[in-house]
Amino acid sequence: MIHMLAPVVSGLLFALGLGLAGMTRPTQVLAFLEFRDPALMLTMGAAVAVTGLGFPLLLRRSRPLLGPRFLLPTRSDLDRPLIVGAVLFGVGWGLVGLCPGPALTGLVAGDPRQWLFVAAMLAGMFIHQRLERSAS
């Protein structure tokens, strides 16, 4: 049970942070991408300042508080899927102003079209998974 507390609180803090910053509102994200409102730069800067200072301190320990080891990505190569995926992601983000975190957080507002966005997002994830599996 205690193992589930950190992920729950982490998700909760994440949603509140997105909400305070205004990232849950697509119009605010589009205003940022259109260079009309730089406020989200502060959000990104503050978040990266916290992780940039905090991660190295945490990773000095040999393992996390309640887990056998830290599970971190190890790759450093720049391959085609990384670039193509980031382009596709950026286009989708710029079309509507929603990325996965805010899209899921905003579901509770009950807008059927936001549910449709999330359904399409899950379909995209699923299809990528299937293609990757059949390719390997």
């Binding site: 982490s10 406020a39 502060l42 503050a46 599970l71 596709l88 992601f89 950026g90 997002m121 994830m125």
Partner: protein, 142 residues
């Protein structure tokens, strides 16, 4: 300091704190697309923490709804076909790139990952071009 500056800063600090908590306690990266995508192929024992994070996200959304409904979207600024297309691209692209705004942006940059830096520059560039050039081009079709 005005609220226009204070709230985005405070939001960013909370997002950073959320990533510290998940890494420090569970040893995991707080990347939303990875957490969701992993649900589709993760072994049973690897699912519960993902569902717990997503549950927390939803409870956070409900709290926001209670505190200030204006914090949540009141309609998406595009037509339904574009909404579906965008959702698909966001989901497919995030998995192909192994991360999104949270995994590559907040966590990857914090780890000084080269892949994350490149991903962030590319998706920010694509997002800016799409918002500034493609959206106006779509015009009435948006």
């Amino acid at each position: 300091m005005s609220l226009d500056i204070l709230l985005p800063l405070l939001g960013g600090l909370l997002i950073g704190a959320s990533a510290l908590l998940l890494l420090g306690v569970s040893g995991r990266i707080a990347g939303v697309s990875g957490i969701v995508g992993g649900l589709m192929l993760a072994p049973r024992g690897d699912r519960s923490w993902r569902l717990a994070f997503l549950g927390g996200l939803m409870v956070g959304g409900l709290l926001l709804l209670g505190i200030d409904p204006a914090a949540l979207p009141d309609g998406l600024p595009a037509t339904t076909p574009i909404v579906v297309l965008a959702g698909f691209l966001v989901g497919y692209g995030a998995r192909a790139a192994n991360g999104c705004t949270s995994g590559h942006g907040v966590c990857g940059l914090g780890r000084r990952s080269r892949r994350s830096l490149v991903a962030v520059l590319v998706f920010m560039g694509a997002g800016v071009i799409t918002a500034q050039l493609v959206r106006p081009l779509l015009g009435g079709a948006l």
